[in-house]
């Protein structure tokens, strides 16, 4: 009987059987690991650009416009309640040569990336920051860049300026903490921070502020927020012994500087550009944002 012969062979302690057995025993966990992680890694290997900003700035509109192309009918959008990633190819050739893009077709003109649209509602911001935190340490930047979209037409109103600037302040603070942790770990400066694009949307509207005014307004407001945050009460849960140790951590930009400017973030490897544009209507459009994103990939 072939079967009994085979069984007998298997149970005989020959070197072939022993090595075969060891081989299988060692290999199975490895294969199992790859099997389990395969579907996860295939999706997240693409570089990600995070799209954040206050409610009503036009994040979802921009995301859908970038996905569908400029010719398509602009889609209607409503309040977003969940993060949503969209896979997009850049139409402009990616000009950065040094990017060790781990994504697939980096040699061609088109680079695929994930654009993650996030909710702007105040209650859901924790998710955005969680995502930034989770993406932090172990790999070298799945979140390549952050686009902060704001409504340039609404920024002349003090209330919405305050909300937008508070969000920007929190966002930059999270990025700064991450970057300073990496600097302390000894990483080169260029790889520490994520570039940030402050995209002033809705320039097609008559009341919209131009890009430079958006920059100065936001900087001035962030300066004020930074000042009042430093003076406010301690957070609950901060013990008496910890007082003072974190002072530097909560201060955005150059410590004890009079005025906050976006250039100060360069200290942490965070480059901030302010570019105006508009998703719908006549105006500069989204070309420059495209170029910025393509360059950062």
């Amino acid at each position: 009987m072939a079967f009994t012969d085979f069984a007998e062979y298997l149970l005989t302690p020959t070197p072939a059987v022993i090595f075969g057995g060891i081989f299988i025993v060692l290999l199975v966990p490895v294969l199992l690991h790859f099997l389990l992680t395969a579907n996860v890694s295939s999706l997240t290997n693409l570089p990600t650009i995070l799209l954040v900003g206050p409610s009503g700035a036009g994040k979802t509109a921009l995301a859908t416009r970038m996905e569908r192309g400029p010719d398509a009918q602009p889609t209607e959008t409503h309040t977003t309640t969940n993060n949503h990633s969209i896979e997009i190819e850049t139409p402009v050739p990616s000009s950065s040569s040094e990017s060790p893009s781990s994504s697939g077709p980096s040699a061609g003109e088109h680079v695929k990336f994930l654009l993650t649209d996030t909710p702007g509602h105040g209650k859901l911001r924790a998710r955005v920051f969680n995502r930034l935190d989770a993406m932090g340490e172990n790999d070298k930047g799945r979140v390549r860049a952050v686009v902060f979209l704001c409504d340039a037409a609404a920024l002349s109103d003090p209330d919405s300026l305050r909300h937008a600037a508070a969000y920007l302040h929190d966002l930059l603070l999270v990025l700064q903490r991450r970057a300073s942790a990496r600097i302390r770990a000894g990483a080169p400066l260029a790889k520490c921070g994520n570039p940030v694009l402050v995209a002033a949307n809705k320039l097609d509207l008559f009341t919209a502020l131009p890009g430079t005014a958006v920059k100065s307004n936001l900087e001035a407001e962030v300066t004020r927020i930074r000042a009042s945050r430093s003076k406010r009460l301690l957070d609950s849960g901060v013990g008496a012994d910890e007082v003072g140790s974190e002072a530097q951590d909560d201060w955005l930009g150059e410590y004890a500087s009079q005025k906050f400017t976006f250039e100060q973030m360069g200290e942490f490897g965070i480059d901030i550009d302010v570019i105006g544009g508009n998703v719908t209507g006549e105006g500069p459009g989204i070309e420059k944002w495209w170029q910025w994103m393509a360059y950062r990939l």
Binding site: E67, T77, H78, S228
Partner: protein, 673 residues
Amino acid sequence: MLDAFEIITTSGVVLWSRTFTPLHANLINNFISDVFIEEKGANAATRDDQLSSTNPPYKSDQHTLKYTFVKELGVIFVAVYRSLLHLSWIDKLVDNIKTLFVDLYGDQLKKPNTTIIECHGFDEYFDQQVRELEGSASKGAAAVPEGALPQEEPTLSGNLGDEPPLPPGLRYKGRALNGANSGEEPSAESTPNLSPTTSRPSTPSAAAAHLVVGKPGPGGKLSRRARKMQNAGASHGAVSSGDEAAARRTKPVKTAKKGRKWTDDGLADEQDDVQLDYSIPSQTGIAADASTAARSSAVEHVDSSTWGSTTTKGQFILKDLDDEVHDILASAKSKADANNNKSTSASGLLGSGLNTISGLFRNVVGGKTLTKEDLDKAMKGMEEHLLKKNVALEAAVRLCEGVEKELIGVKTGSFESISSRIQSAMEASLTKMLTPTNSLDLLREIDAITRPGPASLRTPRPYVVSIVGVNGVGKSTNLSKMCFFLLQNKYRVLIAAGDTFRSGAVEQLAVHVRNLKELTIREGGHVDLYQKGYGKDAAQVARDAVAHATAEGYDVVLIDTAGRRHNDQRLMSSLEKFADFAKPDKILMVGEALVGTDSVAQARNFNAAFGATRSLDGFIISKCDTVGNMVGTLVSLVHATGVPVLFVGVGQHYSDLRNFSVKWAVEKLLSSS
């Protein structure tokens, strides 16, 4: 009439929409943020796959929104109509559209990383549904007064008299009518079942169409006969499905599915289904026989039109659509029924054994799809844990329900146990609940009011904060703590003694003011007390204090009020006048961390006490140092009102006031000690 119907993803993209009357742009945005993000009031815990009739309608000033939500696909279906109208079929429309859309485009929706859904063809399906439901509603209204039995004979005979002389033209006419009134067609086709002597399905359709067109029920009628209509609609659906089954005898699977409609209450056996199944075809078979006997030549045509729906697709496009829609709806329904049956009846021994083993394996490795049974026990544990943390029962139950609904059908990650998954979901849920919509930066807001920029065209005025609460929770203490904090930041503060009732209250504040003056005089603090003695109207005192502060150039006015029991109507009613007179920028309520379940009622009553236009702006939770990890009260308070917690009192000194940190609270709530 319907104003708009929209299909939206959770990522905010409108997949498909139909607008009949232009709406205010923010209507749907407000709806989404109120219902799905802030989960206000009665609209809480709607994040699952239930029918739209069980979701409470969302009412804005003029419109009512009915909605349903498909969790796994992340799609929201919203119907908007004027609140004045009473549309009884709106629930059915929303549910049917949901079923149709998920069936037709579910595959596209499951694709990751895209928002593009090709659903241009959905217009027709939607139109069909609206017509059918509207039609059945108005027919129900029209048919009732005439009585069920005598209504059919005359109309039928009249049509029969007309038809025989010109078969080809008539067939064409009948088809045209079919096309025009396809919405009512299934109802029309139901008539042959009732009276077997009638011949052609197309003829009564014309008759019924006349009926419907002749008597379109006006809005008033609709609302008055809501219940009757629904009955009519229900019986309708059943009969028409039976007829359809007859028309498609060749497909046994389909007939079985249709048969489910008869066992709508879900308790009937399989055998009943089978019997009903066979009875319908036999009945209609008789009808067909009778008709062939009567007019063989004409019947051939009609038969070909009913049977050959697939071959003559191009001509019968609307009729096909009808059939398709009904097929989809029926199959979805039967699927749901089958699911129900499956869940009640145990599967085979071998199957259950394998399931158990794989379930155990997946418990350890992860990748298990969570079901209600898996979650039940763990959720019970979580609920108890929350109760131990002094969360009110109501809030704990709601939180657990929300988390459970969120988790059903979710796969656990690799090497993640159920309890750790629940833990993380609860953490996310608590964080979302406690995080305020707009984070408060008190100093920044005071600056904006007292020193407005030159561009804003506002005149500077003092920033007014008033503090309310039940007796003995620490209103005056927390007010002095806030005052100390403001003085450290070099504001000029006026404290108004609004407690004109309890003896010693004014003197107590005077002591606080004296202490604060001594403490901060060197740092440039400036604080004064405004008091009018006892027995005066508190609202009047508050108004005078604000006027005084404006005149004297104070930056902040802090108004103390008398403690009042939240269920004492007489005391609470004076709060409305108080809010009206003093016009505070912020009304803060002090709640003590020691209080238990009563905190929910306290928060609700105080939140409602300031009239329709004003509500609380925040909570100060006092005495947090006395409860350790049991900080559940703040969850109860936020749960009851949706008002954020701003400050936490953690000790006896003036400096023992802290900003509320969500992370800290969540950690304390979930810690196991």
